[in-house]
């Protein structure tokens, strides 16, 4: 894809945000927040995918990203008997730390997108794609400190669990009411406390167990095949 075509598409997506927001408030007066929230989550993912299309990614890296995504999707299944105890966030963080921001975002958002084919697609998919993508992206951005200090890595995992839960509660609130009611959000957040604790615990356990081995394996593959 040429630079100019990419710029045109980026502009189109950027123009789509205010267009959707105004169309939403015009057409669906009472429930516009839902539409606006979904559209913004979706558009930020699309923006990222567009810039990914424009960049030159090596085939090996492309396949490694797909391997990490497949592993995190598979992880969501292998551990499905234990509710909410999933290695997805941990693998997304590992991918971001070891392969960079872009790989982290792609691994996170595609894990949500693909695993929902097998669980269930729904209006929550764009939100999951966004929050998992963001967790992977920031893991890549903070890769230096996260790589050097295991304590920081585990804290980042715990924080991701809290952020994931808090963000999905926003979705729940907006979906049920169409607008954002703080009392409803507080109730949803309080109701989700046990789940949030499982998220934090599972992220810490999986990061503790997997970050070292997978990090070493990725490093090994990269030195062995040189890219």
């Amino acid at each position: 894809m040429t630079k100019r075509k990419l710029a045109a598409e980026l502009l189109l997506v950027l123009a789509a945000v205010p267009l959707c927001v105004s169309a939403g408030s015009l057409l669906f007066a009472d429930r516009r927040y839902m539409l606006v929230a979904a559209v913004i989550a979706l558009i930020s993912c699309l923006l990222f995918f567009l810039s990914f299309e424009g960049r030159d990614t090596g085939t090996k890296k492309l396949v490694l990203i797909s391997a990490m995504t497949a592993l995190s999707v598979a992880g969501r299944f292998l551990f499905s008997p234990i509710p909410f105890f999933k290695p997805v966030t941990a693998i997304v963080i590992i991918c971001g730390v070891n392969l960079g921001c872009e790989a982290g975002f792609l691994c996170g958002s595609l894990s949500a997108f693909i695993s929902n084919f097998l669980f269930m697609q729904g209006p929550w998919t764009p939100f999951q794609m966004f929050i998992w993508g963001a967790i992977g992206f920031f893991a890549g951005l903070l890769s230096k400190p996260l790589k050097s200090s295991p304590v920081l890595l585990l804290s980042y995992g715990a924080l991701s669990g809290i952020l994931y839960s808090a963000f999905m509660d926003i979705w729940t609130t907006v979906w049920f009411d169409g607008t954002f009611l703080f009392s409803r959000y507080a109730a949803a957040a309080v109701a989700a406390i046990p789940v949030t604790i499982v998220y934090i615990f599972s992220n810490i356990v999986f990061l503790f167990a997997l970050s070292g081995p997978i990090g070493k394996k990725l490093e090994r593959v990269r030195t062995k095949y040189g890219f």
Binding site: R31, T59, A74, F79, A209, L210, L218
Partner: protein, 306 residues
Amino acid sequence: MSNESAFSRLHPLTLSLWFFFVLTVTVMTVNPILAALSLLFSALYKALTTGISIKGISVSLAFMLLIALLNPLFSHHGVTVLFFLNDLPVTLESLLFGGMMSLVVMSSVLWCGALALCMTSDKVIWLFGKPFPKLAVLISLTLRLLPAIKTSYGRMKDARTAAGLYDDSSPFARISSSLRIFSALVTMILEDSIDTADSMKARGLMLRGRTSCSIFRFRPADFAVLALVLLSAAAAAYSSVSKAVLFTFYPAVSYGSMGAVTALTYGSFALTAVVPSFMEVTLWKQLHSTTYRSNTPQARNSRSTV
């Protein structure tokens, strides 16, 4: 085994526009008639494809009742106060809005189930292929790896169980045993992925002018469904702007008068929403006729072997 429904034989473009329209109306509407129509036809489609059980219906009804009854506890708008709870008014309008929301939530869940049934991953890859070629490659690579991972995981687990190394006596032991296998799986998948990458590169991945295989054809039925979707979308957009299907709950329940535009909006939405069920029923009729049977893959295979 194929659980393909008649509706999912439509072109991915038609299907995606259809689901986009129906889901948008369902999720965004505050009109109880549209929400009820949506629930009716989504439930009908579920009954025709995956089937419904008494248990499923009762769980769904309990879920809907919960949504309806919870709303007045959070929202205290409305003029008809039923009673006070902790000095906060519980209003009739809020209860009715909760009831409407339960219709919306239930029908969106049912339509999402239909979406999962009809929009299979190959159709999604086709849709993404044009604007996002790299992303489409990434998604199809990942989807291809999943069955491979599942098989290898099963083999590794069997091997470790046979060697007496797989311990599932306690949840903790099970997690640590699974993690050991998972770690081996990671090594295998990562090393294999480099071979895949080299092979893909040798075959000219990402070269200019690359085309993708597509088995989808745009049939007359696609034109019909697409026209119906466009008509109902236009009617819905017009009546939404002109407030012909306006329905407000707060401060008091009020709705516009029933005019020709309103009737057209409800009618066209109902017609659009009934399309999957209609196609499902006509498919069964076709299945009993010989012309259809002779075109199934099984029939073609048996012909070629004979």
